[in-house]
Symmetry: C2
Subunit: 328 residues, 2 copies
């Protein structure tokens, strides 16, 4: 059964005890320079590598972060994935990637994370029942909802300032002279779509104006179909605030198909600032989500909680930036 070489083998070759070998590889343990050198030389010769499983078993902690994602089709998320992987790598953590199809994360997916006793969890673009979330708390595993809030719960979340972004976008459009605006929502049960709408609505109402609301689903196809349907049945608004960029691109393509001029006939504003929004075919005005800072906030919190678990809940909001391009 024994096939790989272990600390005992190295110890024998180095002429020291197995404990000493262990100490060389365990950060914070003390070993004399001489011992360290002997061990490293022997390890090198044998190609020794400490077994993470034995380590985790004895320390009861891992260097694995569970990253749960849903919408990898939205180009926003590959960026998020890249940033998290890079950021955690710096601190020696690896990523256990879980992809879920449903809005609500399945118990099955969670089991995996618990079985591997992950050091922390990031949930992206999805929610989970409070029950399930609590099972992480019970195991003192820190958890962050990234770009989502779980309503009526006390879990840590990191989002963009969706509410004030919604307000700023309304202010901007009204200043530009828009009167009859429309909001195209993402999945309506997401906090992001709700908050963007709420901020927007607030300001529109303050100005004694109205806006129409159309419900969509955060996908390109959703944006495309929604816009087509609008054009077939109703008068076009003077501006669309679309809950994310990928939908906004769909909206623009639908407008293009009907030969509607943007921004001359309709203005379009998205949200996220995905790479494509700056493509010449779109040049979309949007609200940039500060992914880097959001990731940093998430990682900082998780690292702190891994050292000393408190279970603190907070809804962190990181300020995004308005990016004006050619669609407004």
């Amino acid at each position: 059964m024994k096939s790989t070489i272990n600390a005992k083998d190295v110890a024998k070759l180095a002429g020291v005890s197995q404990s000493s070998v262990s100490r060389v590889y365990f950060e914070g343990a003390k070993v004399s320079k001489k011992t360290r050198q002997k061990v490293l030389a022997a390890a090198e010769e044998l190609g020794y590598r400490p077994n993470e499983f034995a380590r985790s078993l004895i320390t009861n902690r891992t260097k694995i972060i569970g990253l749960v994602m849903k919408g990898v089709q939205n180009p926003f998320y590959p960026q998020v994935l890249t940033q998290f992987t890079a950021s955690f790598k710096k601190f020696g953590y690896s990523i256990l990637f879980v992809h879920t199809n449903s809005d609500e994360i399945q118990t099955e997916d969670i089991e995996t994370l618990l079985n591997y006793n992950v050091a922390g969890v990031v949930i992206t673009d999805a929610t989970m029942s409070l029950n399930v979330a609590e099972s992480f708390r019970a195991n003192q595993i820190p958890l962050v909802f990234f770009n989502r809030k779980l309503s009526r719960s006390n879990f840590y979340s990191v989002c963009c300032n969706n509410l004030s972004a919604g307000r700023a976008i309304a202010e901007y459009l009204i200043a530009k002279g828009s009167k009859d605006m429309a909001y195209i929502s993402g999945n309506e049960n997401t906090s992001t779509s709700q908050e963007r709408e709420e901020g927007f609505s607030e300001v529109v109402t303050q100005h004694n104006l109205n806006f129409k609301k159309y419900s969509s689903d955060y996908t390109y196809e959703g944006g495309y179909k929604t816009a087509l349907a609008i054009m077939e049945e109703e008068a076009l608004p003077s501006a669309f605030f679309v809950a994310n960029d990928i939908m906004a691109l769909g909206v623009m393509d639908a407008l293009r198909k009907k030969e509607i001029q943007v921004p001359a006939q309709v203005k379009v504003i998205g949200f996220d600032n995905i790479g494509m929004s700056s493509w010449p075919a779109y040049e979309l005005t949007t609200w940039e989500q500060p992914i880097e800072k959001m990731v940093e906030e998430t990682v900082t919190y998780l690292l702190a909680e891994m050292i000393d678990y408190t279970g603190t809940a907070e809804a962190v909001e990181v300020d995004g930036v308005f990016i004006e391009r050619k669609t407004t």
Copy 2:
């Protein structure tokens, strides 16, 4: 130190031995119905979950697949990621996600995979030095290069039929009357770009025609810049064969910017059939990579090798499909 509940706890409550508890959770082990029921009841009550680390330590095998990716910015790869995650999940495997920035995978990234003693590895959109690849073989860890071949090596690879696709695309363009064609390559050291060019070149030459070659990098920006540069300095070819879709979209946007009509003035063909290529703004003719089948081939091979390691090398090619849209 002991915090979580273990098989011993369950055994005590169920009134059986710890071995029996273990057998209930170990597939293939034999336990009487009665024992099983007692154990499951006790486990349920205590919230027991077998510790994966202890399991892996004793069995010397894991249920983790290392998935190494580079180009997550190319929408082709999120699709690949989703499929792999779904497919491996079916067989009870989890994904350790490694993201690399460089074309050649770093030893550091590999260390992680070896430390976690992954059951298998998929390398996507990147290569690695033969040295590093051999370290997997030394540990009998099966390895598949997905969408890449490692030249002069004997590792398993799964690709699309790039060579014959290149040929078919040349035949198609020539049949359509194109005479002066151009190939815009991806990163030139990738097998995919080389083979697509090779097939293309072969047929063009057979027909006593020529084509120009421009070197690019598999990104949208690369395609955009390359096309702009061409238009500023030289006569436009009658058709572009672009090594992947995302670059082809860049090419199209550059043409649009210069008000060149596609396909009237220039034809454009991409490769991959990413979601965006069917968007109304593009409607790109392309060659579909059969991701699902490619993933299936990869998973099947890995599962077989995990049971009985042979280290067989083979360059599997899965046939793609030509998709004609409006750019040709």
